[in-house]
Amino acid sequence: MKHTISVLVENEFGVLARVAGLFSGRGFNIESLSVAPTLEPDTSRMTIVTRGDDRILEQITKQLNKLISTIKVVDFTDEEYVERELALIKVTAESDSRAEVLRIVDIFRAKVVDVTPKSYTVEMTGAPAKIDAVLVLLSPFGIKEVVRSGPVVIGRGSKGVAG
């Protein structure tokens, strides 16, 4: 089963390698990982998407907590949360297909951020499934390049997760 985990870590030398090494060393899988500093410059927040049964997830959570640099681990799977991913998509758009590509971009509330006579670069934000959908619709025109950020998540409601 897919799990999305937030890990709050001390923003110190080697911390990303510690977390990534833990996953590879213990045979856990990482589907995506995104990381950036929080409001406090000495703290970073990672969002990790992983897969595993309950026993594996229990181990992942415990092993992450065991790292000295880890401040907090939250598994969002059983909670209400907002999930967003950013994708930049460079799609072929020549004479007859240009209007059709724009229509799809509009439907998904994405936007064009770079234009050439032969292509559009589309910025799209949404749940990962939405991005998958737009990619399916755009692929017949010819996708030259895709960059995805991996999802980030935040819990619903007024309560915040802080260090």
């Binding site: 001390e10 030398f13 080697g14 390698a17 026993r55 790292l67 000295i68 640099s69 401040i71 260090g163």
Partner: protein, 565 residues
């Protein structure tokens, strides 16, 4: 007054109470060694950095204090890795200080540069690269705190050369503030209460004790618990000295080479109480056949040990000394229930006594050839009550666990988790440095001994009277045993073709060498060695194809033991 980085390091070590360090100099630590020249800290020069780490590990296992190592950058640092991994697997507190090339050269493939923080990340509890001198005192303070608290382990500090020579005003922090590291010390009293109730109701309880018990200095509480409820005790390799080997409740070791009665007790019990043990595969055998009739209680300091291998019915996370003290207090309040429980478990202890009588621990004695088990029995018999025993890895290690009767905690040092050949001699060296007046014995095989035999030089240089007993069968015996049993006796690369003259080897280093192949001389050789006030190597030319029995074949349940060779 300003101090240099290397002076700050040594002053911080002194403030942490460090009296002895083990190490080996080199270009990237030459400043530290220059300051060490005037320092009150005692330095033991081993002949290899791996041995320095094992020696610090032996020092830590016997004293309970943090062992300290200094090594240079590059090859010096990479030579420490096996020692660090050994300590990590067995949860031994160490602080390893490695020199590093100057910060401006890091990443340039400089001379004797290795990314030791990257290399040791998976085999240390934590590590630090010092990038700014102002961080150094805090990092040392944190390193010692991390190493010795919670589940102990090795911590490495990588110290670049330019930071060793830079200077600043020194003050050592008094407290540690780490947002991400707050080990649980006290257990949940309610959970301990539930565990107590389970222990008061079980018909067939067994205590399964691991290395964590001695690490927490909870051996006296363990003894009281076993005696209070009259629960039989089986110990892992790591815990052979945690419970007196000659105690009526002692079942000896369990697992792959465990006793028949320990493995049967675990298989037939209805309550298994794990105390500082982590359900290693050498202990459990086939996991779905392990203690399958039992409810399981697990006491452990490390939350990630709980439910890792087996599902536990009642976990308690906390320092074992605290937890067992609390458990005993709860049980002692219920003296009637305790008395009734002792009555209720009489049949269980009788059943175990039956297993003991049916298949006691033993071997086929011989008058013509020295049996390795016989040598160990004699060492056990003739050694002092508080003798410290180390082993290497292989058959001799298992025979030591099976036939040496340990009487006091922290007297058995062996590489249980990683299984590191070459551990025993340097570990004995470290133990002897910690306890100059006690008997220290390294029980070894001819294969393992040659992995760190250079440390004979260190023993002689520092007049460390370690006694080495090599059970020489001219084989890599444990692998040979597997080849005999599972590979049609195809002894691929396990025959040590070149016979070594171990007596001459000892003498070349200035130690005493003794050798015998006669059964009737074994006792005399041991007595003679023990009487010599200096390092002695005893070689016993033993029965070559003796096997370690009982044995649970790989993939079998621990009740499916092979009992005869």
């Amino acid at each position: 007054m300003k101090l240099t980085g290397s002076q700050i390091l040594l002053e911080s070590l002194r403030l942490e109470g460090v009296e002895t360090v083990f190490g080996y100099p080199g270009g990237a630590v030459i400043n530290i060694y220059d300051d060490l020249y005037d320092s009150p800290i005692n330095h033991i020069l081993t002949r290899h950095e791996q041995a320095a780490v094992h020696a610090a590990d032996g020092y830590a296992r016997t004293t309970g204090e943090v062992g300290v190592v200094i090594a240079t950058s590059g090859p010096g640092a990479t030579n420490t890795v096996t020692g660090i991994a050994t300590a990590y697997m067995d949860s031994i507190p160490l602080v390893i200080i490695t020199g590093q090339v100057p910060t401006a050269l890091i990443g340039n493939d400089a001379f004797q540069e290795a990314d030791i923080c990257g290399i040791t990340r998976p085999c240390t509890k934590h590590n630090f690269l010092v990038q700014d001198l102002s961080d150094l005192p805090r990092m040392i303070k944190e390193a010692f705190y991390i190493a010795r608290t919670g589940r102990p382990g090795p911590v490495l500090i990588d110290l670049p050369k330019d930071i060793q020579v830079a200077s600043m005003k020194f003050s050592y922090p008094e407290t540690v503030k780490m947002r991400g590291y707050k080990p649980t010390a006290q257990g949940d009293v309610r959970q301990i209460g539930k565990a107590a109730q389970m222990m008061l109701k079980a018909k067939r309880p067994v205590l399964y004790v691991g290395g964590g018990a001695s690490l927490a200095n909870a051996d006296p509480e363990l003894l009281r618990l076993a005696e209070l409820l009259q629960i039989p005790v089986t110990t892992t390799l790591m815990a052979m000295a945690a419970f007196p080997g000659d105690h009526p409740l002692a079942l000896g070791m369990l697992g792959m080479h465990g006793t028949y009665f320990a493995n049967m007790s675990v298989t037939e019990c209805d309550l298994l109480v794990a105390i500082g043990a982590r359900f290693d595969d050498r202990v459990t055998g086939r996991i779905d056949a392990f203690a399958k009739k039992a409810k399981i209680i697990q006491f452990d300091i490390d939350p990630s040990s709980i439910h890792k291998i087996v599902r536990v019915d009642q976990p308690v996370v906390g320092d074992l000394k605290w937890v067992l003290t609390s458990l005993l207090a709860q049980l002692e309040e219920q003296s009637q229930d305790v008395a009734r429980q002792i009555e209720n478990t009489i049949d269980w202890r009788k059943e175990i006594a039956g297993w003991k009588a049916k298949h006691p621990m033993g071997y086929q004695a011989s008058d013509s050839v020295i049996k390795p088990q016989y040598v160990i029995e004699k060492l056990s018999e003739l050694s002092a009550e508080d003798a410290i025993v180390t082993t290497e890895v292989g058959q001799h290690q298992m025979w030591t666990a099976q036939f040496f009767r340990f009487r006091q905690p922290r007297t058995f040092l062996t590489s249980g988790g990683l299984g590191t050949m070459g551990y025993g001699l340097p570990a004995a060296l470290g133990a002897q440095v910690a306890f100059p007046g006690r008997q220290v014995i390294d029980i070894s095989g001819d294969g393992s001994f040659q992995m760190n035999s250079q440390e004979l030089a260190t023993l002689v240089q520092y007049r460390l009277p370690v006694k080495i007993a090599i059970l020489n069968n001219n084989y890599l015996g444990m692998v040979r045993q597997w080849q005999q049993l599972f590979f049609d006796k195809r002894y691929s690369q396990t025959v040590m073709e070149l016979p070594i003259d171990f007596v001459k080897l000892a003498e070349a280093y200035g130690a005493t060498g003794l050798s015998t192949d006669r059964v009737d001389e074994v006792e005399a050789v041991i007595q003679k060695a023990f009487a010599i006030d200096g390092p002695v190597l005893m070689e016993f030319k033993v029965c070559r194809e003796e096997n370690v029995i009982p044995m649970v074949p790989a993939g079998k349940g621990i009740h499916e033991m092979v009992l005869a060779s």
